[in-house]
């Protein structure tokens, strides 16, 4: 598992560098709509609390639902928790516009690089896919060729990043108003698909916990995308 936290470190370094580059290039000193330093600090604290709570709660819950004991973290759980905390904070502090673009490029890089760490960590990380006969199946050490689902997610995020960087230069207003919601929609949709080829125990019909969380994120993104033109005024 040493390899995983080395990739975690690499992912965080890359994430910070991309965030800094993006913010400098497009002169984003704060998330949109948050101009007071104190509001910005409290917003970040809310994000941190939501991220940590969601990540640990849903990661551990999934582990236990799958019959394994221990403590785990989850990226989807973290995103759900952070969005919930951020929206709650925004509601009570009167912020009515999208603030997520500020964090989006860094988050995409964090997932894209971090998932490579999950891939190299192999079986102990419990993020691998189910058995496959496809030629790119990977043997993680137990003699079974499995879907490298971590790399699927990494690739999906990388493609979205390329699309975002190309498109943002042409239409920054669209990305400022709706970009984060579009990212959530893409992230949750691809994650929903990959969950069908993961070995997690279903909790409802054929859907596991992360299917349900992904559906929540898709619903959130669609609602916010529908509402976002009103915010533009």
């Amino acid at each position: 598992m040493t390899i995983h936290f080395l990739f975690d470190l690499l992912a965080m370094t890359a994430s910070v560098m991309v965030s800094m580059w993006f913010r400098r290039r497009y002169q984003l000193s704060h998330p949109a709509g948050i101009t007071q330093p104190a509001k910005y600090h409290y917003y970040l604290i809310a994000l941190l609390l939501g991220l940590a709570a969601g990540s640990t709660l849903f990661g551990t819950l999934n582990l236990h639902l799958s019959g394994q004991h221990g403590l785990a973290k989850s990226m989807t759980g973290g995103i759900v928790g952070a969005i919930f905390a951020a929206e709650l904070y925004k509601y009570f502090s009167g912020i009515r516009q999208s603030t997520g673009l500020y964090f989006m490029p860094g988050l995409i890089v964090l997932i894209a690089v971090g998932r490579i760490g999950c891939f190299y960590a192999g079986l102990p990380d419990y993020t691998y896919g189910v058995k496959t006969a496809l030629p790119w199946g990977v043997d993680f050490g137990d003699g079974i060729y499995r879907h490298p689902v971590q790399l699927y997610e990494s690739l999906a995020m990388l493609l979205f990043l390329i699309f975002f960087l190309k498109s943002h230069a042409q239409n920054p207003t669209f990305w400022q108003q709706r970009g984060f919601y579009l990212f959530v929609l893409v992230y949750a949709t691809q994650r929903f698909c990959w969950e069908f080829i993961k070995p997690y125990t279903p909790v409802y019909s054929q859907l596991n916990l992360f299917h349900l969380l992904s559906l929540c994120l898709i619903a959130y993104a669609l609602i916010m995308l529908k509402r976002s033109p009103a915010h533009a005024a």
Binding site: T2, F5, M12, P37, I45, H69, K73, D125, Y126
Partner: protein, 114 residues
């Protein structure tokens, strides 16, 4: 006129702000101690993990010391100091426990930062 009258008066921190600052600060200190124990245990065997734990302890110590100093001198707003302490108490442990599965099996104890 006293000489100090021309100096700006130190900022007053709210009771709630101070309370949450110390809650975050104490949780950061507790986790710093935990990683200090991890460092002590891993110092002889796994060198990469020991270096990782050392970095975590140093970073947490720096954040906690500086935030306590600024809290005492009132040089920075309490919201910013709360963020520093929250980073030390929440974000850093989240980062420090590398990987998605933090503890593989309770029977084997905590997997020391990866």
């Amino acid at each position: 006129m006293m000489p100090d009258d021309n100096l700006p008066s130190p900022a007053k921190f709210s009771l709630a702000g101070s309370f949450f600052f110390w809650i975050f600060w104490l949780s950061g200190a507790a986790l710093c101690l935990l990683f200090g124990i991890f460092l002590f245990i891993t110092a002889t065997g796994a060198s990469v993990v020991a270096v990782w734990n050392l970095l975590i302890v140093l970073a947490q110590c720096l954040l906690l010391t500086k935030s306590a100093h600024y809290f005492h001198t009132r040089e920075k707003p309490v919201s910013e100091l709360m963020l520093w302490a929250a980073f030390a108490g929440i974000a850093m442990p989240l980062i420090a426990f590398g990987g998605c599965a933090v503890i593989n099996d309770m029977g084997n104890g905590v997997r020391f930062a990866g």
